[in-house]
Symmetry: C2
Subunit: 439 residues, 2 copies
């Protein structure tokens, strides 16, 4: 049997501890599959003495992860520290620069510095694997980087944040408000004390930026993403969606269009009988439209120590199976030096179907105003539903829901502004984009 | 750039022609991604002169695929001939034996000879890739062989035959009989003139045998599979399933149990709101229950020239990215010489929920008979529905539908036999197993 693969793990939180348990507990089976044993020879963590339910006494302890990356006698550096900057950035840079392979679960780091780090890895002929950075345990990076090599990808979209999907699922299931479901998610540990990063879509955006680069061979562009979270979604929207055969999901969508690449994160109506509509709770899902294959859909646990550790373990096994120094394909699907410049499509030119919910005063002329402005902006309607207002007692209000055929975002915005200017609207109009999966 | 990867393609049907179009049409992009060009240097086919919409004039033509495998100056032999025996078997054996990598889409060949061929590949240090052999373009082999390396798999199940799924979907959608939907499937080219191999589950069984080996590290056992096709499913069953919140799918299921491994192919009730229940038409899906990760679900096109070629292309790209002669993990997940003997669980000991549809004479004592025999066999019931008989005009018949909690197959069979012996049954009772996905 070949010599052992020596790994150093920086960060022993839930993911790191779970990974260490897998590596120790399945040592012999892994050695059989990989053709050589995998040994944890170095670790770093804030607290060296904490009980993590796993014996790490054989590993050298480093207080500083950057020192581990620079000095430890390792073949693979596993970064589980998190955060887009130091020490994670310096540590991965150090490890790759001296010819160590690296595995990371850090989406923020890669969204910001992925192209630079991929460049170092490719120059040194080592691997930089990051399956766990997007959609947890779902092997979407491997599918895009390896399985779909013969395809051109036209669209990739997914449920990439378990917190948001849990909240939206519970709102529909229990008929509760966003705020109540958020509180429940926090109680269960599915949401942070400050949930902004999850519920406003930033976490989804980081993951989407990586998928976009893999899909289209472009440089990672985390700042060029249209962002809209779920905090404005009401139980009214969810009920109206259900009536019309839709569910609301927070999707990250990347799509090649004539005017460039669209990257957008927003609440989205998906047809109720589509596969992705059934993806409930903290589960994640990714759909990839590929020109030769068609639509590939994957779903599974998107977060949590074990699911993330499973993906990290798969990345390490890939390195163990390859002979050291023999690179297995470019980090971001194509060589970092050949990645194209990202050309952003303007959101106003986004074309698709829209769900529009308006609360209006119940007086003569309302419908003429709505119908007229839709027509003036060349928007054709798939369905129109009128219902009593949210406040049943308040007889002078109505809810009007419109579902449009494919149209331009700019036209929808202009029509809604014009209706608003006519003075019939009560409160803020709700506009939600519709996305149609192929399956 | 490294020297070209030279491939020989045996078989130029729809898959082979699609593959050749991808390799020629995307030559430069593939070279960039793989780090070297991929060249078709040899082909074999029955008819050398047929127009396949792709220029193969640069390739040496062989009338005999075995001669191609033995003599051509190639790095990779791509077998797209089909069939479990010769010439496919001899050709792949020849290619591997002289140190060529091999890629095949041939499930029948691998179900029968996969362990032998994996052994040759591993002895010679070459790759034998077969992503296209199971579920077409869905990268399930890669996920099981690589991504889930750190996991123990407890169950794998899926919709592995597009013909059956198309027929079942259309029966429900249009309210038509099995026979009518089969005819439509034949008209559309989704079913063969002799559909037996698809509709009786044999095709699903071949694919399941490969998944089982990958999941449990056991030798491939294609003959130890409980087999039941969809030709006995009636529109009545589908309607009753829908009423009770289920859909009927032909599933292949492999599961580790206390008494061995269960491999079974049969019509299955899945909960209507599960992800797999939404997989319609010719689409395939595979779900994998893994102990660390949880449940991973993948769906996508399971057949067709392009989807299959996409998977074959991914397999070739993996070989192109690796340096020649550097093996990347064992063919069947663990080394062929270490595969365990397959221990078959007895189907009668299968434990699960059951849907039972009985047509009975409408007279006193029927319910006492049914309830008594269920109770005698320790079967607890989740729901009971009684409806007028299939023949509405026939007032003296009733349909009784029972859904059981988890129980043993042997108990269900005994109970149904006993009810039958009491003389109330009209026609054959229908028993359909229930499978509950985690998502």
């Amino acid at each position: 049997m070949a010599h052992a693969l020596k790994i150093g793990i920086a960060g022993l939180g839930t993911v790191g501890a779970s990974l260490a348990r897998i590596l120790n507990g399945r040592h012999n089976k892994l050695a059989d599959i990989c053709g050589r044993p995998i040994e944890i020879v170095a670790v770093s963590a804030r607290d060296p003495d904490k009980d993590r339910g796993v014996d790490l006494s054989g590993a050298t302890f480093y207080a500083d992860p950057v020192a581990l990356a620079r000095e430890a006698d390792i073949d693979v550096f596993v970064e589980l520290i998190g955060g887009e900057g130091d020490p994670a950035l310096s540590a991965v840079r150090e490890a790759l620069s001296r010819g160590c392979h690296a595995v990371t679960a850090n989406k923020a780091l890669l969204a910001r510095h992925g192209v630079e780090l991929a460049g170092i890895a490719e120059e040194k002929g080592v691997l930089l694997n990051f399956e766990a950075a997007v959609a947890g345990g779902i092997p979407v990076i491997k599918a895009m980087r390896e399985s779909l090599t013969g395809n051109s990808i036209t669209r990739v979209f997914g449920i990439l944040n378990g917190t948001c999907n849990y909240i939206l699922t519970e709102m529909e299931r229990c008929g509760l408000s966003f705020e109540d479901c958020l509180k429940e998610a926090q109680r269960l540990g599915y949401a942070e004390a400050d949930p902004t990063f999850d519920v406003e879509g930033n976490d989804t955006a980081h993951k989407l930026a990586l998928l976009t680069s893999l899909a289209f061979g472009t440089r990672i562009a985390p700042d060029d993403i249209y962002l809209e979270g779920i905090s404005n979604i009401t139980i009214e929207d969810i009920r109206a969606a259900a009536d019309l055969g839709f569910r609301i999901k927070l999707l990250g969508v990347a799509q090649r269009t004539d005017s460039g690449i669209e990257q957008r994160v927003h609440p989205t109506m998906v047809p109720k009988d589509s596969v992705i509509a059934q993806v409930d709770g903290v589960t994640n899902a990714v759909a990839i439209d590929a020109d030769v294959l068609g639509e590939l859909m994957m779903s599974g646990p998107g977060a949590g120590g074990d699911a993330t550790a499973s993906a990290v373990m798969g990345d390490i096994a890939d390195i163990a199976k390859a002979r050291p120094g023999h690179q297995h394909g470019p980090v971001l699907g194509r060589p970092a030096v050949h990645l194209e410049t990202y050309e952003r499509a303007r959101m106003r030119s986004h074309e698709g179907g829209y769900f529009i919910r308006l609360t209006v005063e119940d007086r003569t002329g309302v419908f003429a105003s709505i119908a007229g402005h839709m027509s003036d902006n060349d928007i054709s309607l798939e369905s129109i539903v009128q219902r009593p207002g949210e406040n049943g007692a308040n007889g002078d209000r109505k809810t009007v829901i419109l579902v449009t055929h494919a149209t331009m975002e700019a036209s929808v915005r202009k029509a809604v502004e014009a209706i608003s200017a006519d003075g019939y609207l009560v409160g803020k109009p709700q506009v939600i984009r519709i996305e149609r999966p192929e399956s």
